[in-house]
């Protein structure tokens, strides 16, 4: 029901497809196949986090207590907001409200940027508290419990990998916004917005998983 398109909104068929429906189905299936790989990529890290937790419960709890819980929580709120604006952009694209859609996309990119800024501040606070054990030059605050280093470093690998995805996402989104602001975009490439929206929601979903796994359950 919610996926009905307004008049003048649609997809231009590429030469190697027989129908537009086939082209749309391929794009949707393609992004889902990609998202499966993203899920497994991050899940392997979560598995390592679980093993570290099983093998070194005390050190992991000590390390997790040093994470910036409230910044993480705030960032989760920021990403949930960006999911809302992305959903709005998709709905606007379906009813053909191009300007509203462009604004919603810009808002999404801005919220993504805010996430990265907060994340950067969090890293700075971590650095300040000597919570960067991978830096050889800077002593680690929890040096007396070596396994704490495992969890903290894993936190960096996971969050940096997520941030890289978010950064790539913002760059793609801004590029797409620039194209989407032009006349006729929605009649040719409406499904780009849908496909991109799935990616954005999924990066949000990964954070929804990462926040409790890293920050919450180990407290």
């Amino acid at each position: 029901m919610s996926k009905e398109l307004a008049d003048g909104v649609g997809v231009a068929r590429a030469g190697h497809f027989e129908t537009v429906a086939q082209q749309r189905a391929a794009a949707t299936l393609g992004i889902w196949a990609w998202l499966i790989t993203e899920l497994l990529l991050f899940s392997a890290l979560f598995l390592v986090a679980l093993i570290v937790r099983i093998q070194h419960p005390e050190a992991t709890v000590a390390a997790a207590k040093h994470l910036k819980f409230w910044i993480g929580a705030t960032n989760t709120v920021v990403l949930i907001c960006s999911s809302l604006t992305m959903s709005m952009a998709i709905e606007f694209s379906r009813i053909g409200w191009q300007r509203a859609m462009v604004r919603a996309m810009l808002a999404t990119a801005a919220l993504g940027g805010l996430f990265l800024v907060l994340k950067g501040y969090e890293y700075y606070a971590d650095w300040d508290e000597h919570m960067m054990p991978f830096l050889g030059s800077r002593p680690f605050a929890l040096a007396e419990t070596p396994p704490a280093r495992l969890f903290v470093n894993l936190y960096y690998v996971a969050t940096i990998l997520h941030a890289v995805h978010l950064f790539t996402g913002i760059a793609l989104l801004l590029g797409m916004t620039w194209m989407a602001a032009k006349a006729g975009f929605l009649s040719r490439h409406q499904n780009w917005i849908e496909v991109y929206g799935l990616y954005w929601h999924f990066i949000d979903l990964v954070w929804i998983l990462a926040f409790p796994i890293l920050y919450v359950v180990n407290r």
């Binding site: 393609g30 899920l39 497994l40 991050f42 392997a44 093998q55 991978f134 793609l172």
Partner: protein
């Protein structure tokens, strides 16, 4: 993200000649001949040729490294080269053969070329992504070659921590980065195949009319999607471990090196089926064509592909029985490993039943296919030896394992690759290869392979560990025999490279269907036109609609 890039982008395709005027110039090879038209092509057939050329190069590198290994082992005392040189040679052999030849071998070349033809499509669903995957592959190859040129790696292709992270003084990082990047090319290829097979089939081409080759590639692609990301994570952690000492695999900080092995084999055991399944697909095309008989038990063979692709995710721990995993895990992984026998047996018995009462021509592709069946059976059953816990305690990490997986990888995948290459060579190039030379080479490879690798089963059971630069003198006789076999095998590899290249210019022109084979790829020209079919192909009533059909055909397909 990646999907969106290519969906709309192909809206404006470059103009091409109207189909009515299709002549000599319009087939995909001759439509355009500039370098640019090759390196920026989005035609799946040309990308397949790009892949074919690249992996042939890697095969040569890997084969030379194998030759160095066999040369070193002629003498037991390591007099020919230093231990370091030997270790680097077998590492290069493993890394290059596994990641740069075997994994892309059949999918990225034959799969790329044939899947759209077999399902009656104009191209893969995402042509630009397909080209991207080749560039990603070459980027990964670049890093690995850099590590090779700078001095090589000595960790073995398995990169076990902490040897690879803290102890090896060789160029591990560029090799790891290269292998990580190549994983993305696998993912993109697999994604493209999955989407193509789901959405691009010609009208009337239902799932149970698809050739087994397509089924096998569908199963392979699922493994690409579900397994490759995990090795990416494992390698990222390994790179971080080596670069920044993050500690997760480092016992000095309480990390667990066995955890790397779990992540590694979660991918690398299914990767065996990335190498094996497409080969099974090739054999399932060749055997019916040269028996002129419908494939026996089509549905069972199709389901067996999916079955293998699923079961393979439950058995990785059989690589780790003696590596310190819990006894419970060993028991569970061992029991589940025996389940692999079921779908494998289905394939082998059905191929044999297909030959029964057929009308057989023993041309080169069929010789390879028959060799494949025999060697795959031996490789598969010796795999069950290794899955048996008590036997594994003795032959794990010995030459028995080396022999076993070479029976699967060379006896299986490489023979299927060569069989498929001869089978579809007329389709790829429009030329016939030399049949007598083809048969001679096939026999040489079969004999050379067995002389090389059968003695290694015995060496392994006698207790010769693998990856040994020097060895006790009583193993010398069998090692010399193995090295002698390797020279025969090498000759068998060199001949096809010569006569196939020769045929490109001097071979007889190939008709559209030289083998009288069934399948949509034979319904179009050799080589096919740029957009595959001049008119939409008619999907046959049943798959493998050959003149001879066993009773079961009527039972299962109406």
């Amino acid at each position: 993200m990646s999907a969106s890039g290519s969906v709309g982008g192909t809206a404006r395709r470059e103009p091409h000649a109207p189909e009515a005027t299709l002549g000599r110039k319009a087939d995909y090879l001759h439509a355009d001949s500039t370098l640019r038209s090759w390196f920026l092509t989005t035609d799946h057939k040309r990308i397949a040729i790009l892949y074919l050329a690249s992996i042939t190069g890697f095969f040569v590198i890997g084969a030379v490294a194998a030759g160095v290994v066999r040369l070193a082992l002629i003498v037991p005392n390591g007099a020919i080269m230093t231990n370091d040189t030997y270790n680097k040679a077998f590492t290069i052999h493993g890394v290059v053969m596994v990641w740069f030849f075997l994994i892309p071998s059949i999918p990225a070349t034959f799969g790329n070329f044939l899947i759209p033809l077999m399902i009656g499509a104009k191209d893969l669903a995402f042509p630009k992504l397909n080209l991207t995957s080749w560039y990603v592959f070459m980027a990964g190859a670049f890093f690995t070659l850099v590590s090779l040129v700078l001095g090589g790696v000595d960790t073995g292709w398995t990169f076990y921590a902490p040897l690879s992270t803290a102890f090896s003084n060789t160029w591990v990082l560029p090799a790891l980065i290269g292998v990580t990047i190549v994983g993305f090319s696998s993912i993109l290829t697999g994604l493209n195949f999955v989407v193509t097979i789901h959405t691009m089939r010609a009208p009337g081409m239902t799932w149970f009319k698809l050739p087994i080759f397509v089924w096998a590639h569908y199963a392979t692609s699922l493994i690409f999607l579900l397994a490759t990301p995990v090795i990416t994570t494992a390698l990222i952690l390994l790179i971080m471990e080596r670069g920044f000492h993050i500690g997760v695999f480092d016992p000095a900080y309480g990390g667990d090196p066995v955890l790397f092995q779990h992540l590694f084999w979660f991918y690398s055991h299914p990767a065996v089926y990335i190498m094996v399944l497409p080969g099974m697909g090739v054999i399932s095309e060749i055997v019916p064509a040269f028996a002129q008989k419908k494939l026996f038990g089509y549905r069972f063979v199709a389901y067996a592909s999916i079955g293998l692709a699923s079961v393979t995710f439950f058995v990785w721990g059989h690589h780790m029985f003696v590596n310190g995993q819990s006894d419970l895990a060993s028991l569970v992984f061992s029991a589940l490993s025996f389940a692999v026998a079921v779908p494998s047996a289905v394939k082998v018995y059905n191929w044999t039943a297909t030959i029964h009462k057929g009308s057989l021509r023993l041309d080169t592709p069929m010789l390879y296919a028959m060799g494949y069946i025999g060697l795959f059976v031996l490789g598969g059953l010796t795999g069950l030896y290794l899955a048996t816990l008590a036997i594994n305690q003795h032959i794990h990490a010995t030459y028995f394992v080396v022999a076993h997986f070479h029976y699967i990888m060379v006896g299986g995948t490489v023979l299927a690759f060569l069989g498929g290459l001869h089978f579809w060579w007329p389709k790829f190039t429009g030329r016939m290869y030399s049949e007598p030379w083809g048969r001679v080479s096939a026999m040489l490879i079969f004999i050379g392979f067995n002389v090389t690798f059968f003695p290694q089963f015995i060496l392994g059971y006698l207790g010769m560990p693998r990856r040994y630069a020097t060895y006790p003198v009583e193993f010398q006789l069998l090692n010399v025999l193995s090295s002698a076999g390797a020279t025969i095998l090498a000759a068998g590899y060199i001949f096809p490279m010569l006569y196939l290249v020769y045929s490109l210019w001097f071979g007889r022109k190939a008709p559209a269907n030289p083998w009288n084979a069934k399948g949509l790829e034979w319904e179009t020209g050799s080589p096919p036109p740029k957009h595959n079919f001049l008119s939409p192909p008619a999907v046959p009533r049943i798959p493998y609609d050959y003149p001879i059909q066993a009773q079961e055909a009527q039972d299962q397909h109406g």
